[in-house]
């Protein structure tokens, strides 16, 4: 290792582990000791990453309170060194960390909230795509409908939530007091997506979730209708499916109809 790489290695270790082996490579000034000078960088490293996590996980911060959120961040930082050139990705594994770390894992809504907030981040800057319009849909001849497949917006995120975490986030975004954590009696399907500049999220009925999941995996319209037959009378299925499709188009979820 050359001289520069060796110094950088020691400097980085001093920032990450706060060891003092780098101290004797640094000059003190009349006012500031070598240790304190290195400490400025070690402190800034942690504060910058905490700020990044606070930006990514605003509702998690609200629910935990500043002190406990700060403790969570510091323990995450101690075990996770950033690697991506953009700090935006630093919080990517926070939900997994929360799932496996006490005392946070004792409150399962925390990991679910972290997952929800990370998926909002993913939707935020996912690839752009222009959605199709109701007119595009209306122009398709009826005999082509059974074979139609649908491409969904690249920002679309699908998740199952047991807790009221979406309400926690929307309260935080609107600067309201968040609701107390409350577990529903079953898992509820949710989607998060973005039109060009705005993010949206909403829950889905079991029918809609099944149909959306099938559509994402490339099933054609006839297959989507068959899926709905499990819960809806056969006579009403096509109309119901067309109604859901129309809703997705209004929401900006469909970017291409493939004939």
């Amino acid at each position: 290792m050359n001289r520069i790489a060796s110094l950088q290695s020691q400097f980085q270790r001093a920032i990450l582990t706060l060891d003092d082996e780098f101290d004797d490579k640094i000059l003190a000034t009349k006012r500031v000791s070598a240790k304190r000078r290195i400490g400025i960088y070690a402190d800034a490293y942690r504060l910058r990453l905490i700020e990044c996590l606070r930006d990514s996980y605003s509702a998690l911060n609200t629910m935990l309170g500043d002190d406990q959120f700060d403790r969570l961040c510091r323990s995450y930082i101690d075990t996770h060194t950033p690697h991506h050139y953009s700090v935006r990705w630093y919080g990517q594994t926070l939900a997994a960390y929360v799932v496996g770390t006490a005392p946070y894992c004792e409150h399962p809504y925390l990991a679910e909230l972290a997952t929800f907030e990370w998926k909002l981040m993913e939707a935020f800057d996912a690839r752009d795509a222009a959605p199709v319009t109701i007119e595009d849909m209306a122009a398709i001849p009826p005999d082509q409908w059974p074979n139609l497949t649908f491409a969904l917006h690249p920002s679309l995120q699908r998740l199952q939530l047991a807790w009221n975490v979406a309400a926690m986030r929307s309260a935080t975004d609107e600067d309201r007091d968040p609701p107390a954590p409350q577990r529903g009696d079953r898992l509820v399907p949710w989607i998060i997506w973005r039109t060009q500049r705005r993010q949206f999220y909403r829950s889905l009925s079991a029918d809609e979730a099944r149909m959306l999941d099938q559509a994402r995996s490339g099933a054609n319209f006839a297959t989507l209708c068959e899926g709905l037959c499990q819960s809806i009378g056969e006579a009403d299925v096509a109309l119901h499916a067309a109604g859901l499709l129309k809703q997705w188009i209004t929401d900006g979820l469909i970017i291409r109809i493939v004939k």
Partner: protein
């Protein structure tokens, strides 16, 4: 040291750092006293969404320069060609007159500390960094500027001044310099050197851009926090820089406690009102 002839970069006027919280006011008001914007490149190395939407919309009205924080031009890891490829794609989109990053390293062994870590001021480091600057500049096919950083420590290994080091890299790497006036002030305080000596050493034609910003005085040291207005001694140093370097594109950075756009504009007007009489005087 062998000095090559340098072509001066164009004078773009008086700019601001483009910040998310100002997107809508910029588009609604299209302020005429902002001549150009500097963007933080990493914020736009994304697939789509709001950042790229506003980037394109604002670029239609203003010239832009790309300023990065993650190149690690002084790092010991190999250059990150994936990052550089994305940076070049962004440059194709933005068409900046130049791009810049900091004279620093940001991590080792694949880590990114997300800080602008100083280098030891040695001949070995000049050769190392200048070689990387040449590679990056050739790849990007645009002029590259390296910026002096604020620093808080001094390596015992350092064998020259910061201004000799910066100049050495600009000469050997054949690149331009983004001279951050506030960083000179901050580092002069932290390392007890004379900021005027710094200014008067830097070769005039190498300087392509100035930065101005505020900082936080912690008593025993100063942190380059970009969260306050520019202070008077930095304005004075700026006036001296304008007198020495002539018409150099200047912009003001604010990264924290960002006020509404209309509160930043008087600061930009102040930069203009300081520079214009000096430039007129120098031209005469």
């Amino acid at each position: 040291m062998q000095k090559s002839a340098v072509k001066r970069l164009p004078f773009l006027g008086f700019g601001l750092g483009l910040r998310t919280s100002h997107y809508q006011s910029v588009l609604a008001e299209l302020p005429a006293n902002i001549d150009w914007f500097e963007i933080l490149s990493e914020n736009y190395l994304v697939a789509g969404g709001k950042p790229l939407y506003y980037l394109d919309a604002i670029r239609e009205h203003y010239p832009m320069i790309m300023h990065g924080v993650s190149m690690s031009i002084g790092g010991s890891d190999p250059l990150n060609w994936d990052y550089l490829t994305q940076l070049k794609q962004l440059a194709d989109r933005v068409q900046p007159a130049w791009f810049s990053d900091h004279l620093c390293w940001t991590g080792l062994d694949g880590s990114n500390i997300h800080d602008l870590l100083p280098l030891p001021y040695t001949e070995e480091a000049i050769a190392h960094v200048a070689n990387r600057v040449r590679q990056v500049q050739d790849f990007m096919e645009r002029p590259m500027l390296i910026e002096n950083v604020s620093s808080y420590l001094t390596y015992k290994d350092s064998a020259m001044t910061e201004w000799e080091f910066l100049t050495g890299i600009a000469e050997h790497g054949d690149c331009h310099i983004l001279l951050d006036i506030n960083n000179i002030y901050v580092s002069a305080f932290n390392h007890e050197f004379d900021p005027h000596e710094y200014l008067h050493y830097i070769p005039v034609d190498r300087v392509g851009q100035f930065h101005l910003a505020g900082h936080t005085n912690c008593g025993d040291y100063i942190i380059d926090s970009h969260d306050h207005p520019v202070i008077d001694p930095v304005w004075e140093l700026y006036a001296e820089a304008v007198r020495r370097f002539g018409p150099v594109s200047i912009m003001i950075e604010r990264d924290d406690h960002i006020p509404p756009l209309n509160e930043l504009l008087p600061e930009l007007d102040r930069a203009r009102s300081i520079a214009q009489p000096i430039l007129k005087e120098v031209a005469a």
